[in-house]
Assembly symmetry: C2
Homo-oligomer: 206 residues x 2
């Protein structure tokens, strides 16, 4: 597991779509859900989960009872893949249809975090910015029930890719883009009367 | 590769979230992008891509020059993971925050399709329903330049999972759900004047 195949480090297809660290961070900061993949007895194993980038780490978490996290915590190689679908590209032939997207792959081995409480607060604020300051500090018991791990972002072990623009075909037929976006709806109360300020901001300022 | 670990076939965590084939199909039919994962020299390798369910197959495609597809076409074990994020679950403690989602994992070995032209038309119509009948048939040359593969949906080799509802905590504080949805924006023309009927419907009837 010390060396990795060269083909994992390079874009063999459309290398012009490769991006820099800025693009990587943008994708990791825009996508709410990533897919964590590992290998079990030669089989790929993948689970979608919430994540957060915290500087040069990707933070993931789950219950200490969760199967995938228990496995990857033991030092297996993992990848985290995340994407944002920005648009559908409509062309005049089926072949030239495409999608505009931004995607990131981060590869490595998961490590324990130094400060799980801080990482979990950062993860909370990643999903609903400002929410951690509206809630009581996470307790030691809650931290102990949570497996909190970091995937370091290491040079040579990540890929960022993007496609934008139209189909690029000279034609009189209609070609173009259908923008795709993720939106938050009006909060639905389960208990209580006043929507927290963090939630209000998330919805109003999207 | 003939046998797979039992833990890949079972939900070790929250088995009540496991769903039936109806949920699997719903997720595969709602998610536009899936993450295809395989194993290369012991490392997980994952790439997000458009896909379509066609009966009991998941169809994926790409250029014959694409690295991942070239690898998995040779018979490696793969998983396709797809998710739909339906909402953010806001609780009164950080620990009880969650997400509402529907997720699918299909595991197996990719096989060639019998009729690539039909599969590619179905994939086109999955993304923009009705678009295949507005465009010329895909040519033999275009079919040859495309690697079109199917991942059979086989009993015991898929998992569908979902979470819905609120945080489920008795509290006077506000708890609730922020709905999340994916929306199409007004089409942006690159060439031509008249937005195709299929594209118009996709946007107007969402």
């Amino acid at each position: 597991m010390e060396t990795e195949p060269k083909k994992l480090r390079t874009l063999t297809r459309k290398p012009d779509r490769g991006g820099d660290r800025g693009l990587l961070d943008e994708v990791l900061d825009d996508a709410l859900v990533g897919t964590v993949s590992t290998v079990v007895d030669g089989w790929p194993w993948s689970v979608p989960m919430l994540f957060a980038r915290l500087g040069d780490d990707v933070i993931i978490h789950g219950s200490t009872g969760a199967g995938l996290l228990r496995h990857v915590a033991e030092g297996s190689a993992v990848t985290l893949t995340a994407y944002v679908l920005d648009g559908l590209v409509v062309a005049d032939t089926m072949f030239d249809h495409s999608a505009n997207y931004r995607a990131a792959v981060v590869r490595g081995v998961l490590e324990p975090v130094d400060d799980a409480a801080a990482a979990l607060a950062a993860l909370t604020d990643r999903i609903v910015p400002g929410r951690s300051s509206e809630t009581p500090p996470i307790t030691a018991k809650q931290v102990a029930a949570t497996r909190t791990l970091r995937l370091p972002i290491v040079d040579g072990r990540w890929i960022a890719k993007a496609r934008s623009g139209g189909a690029g075909i000279g034609t009189d037929d209609w070609t173009g883009i259908v923008p795709v976006s993720t939106v938050y709806g009006e909060p639905v109360a389960e208990t209580g009367d006043t929507v927290p300020a963090s939630v209000r901001r998330l919805v109003d300022e999207q």
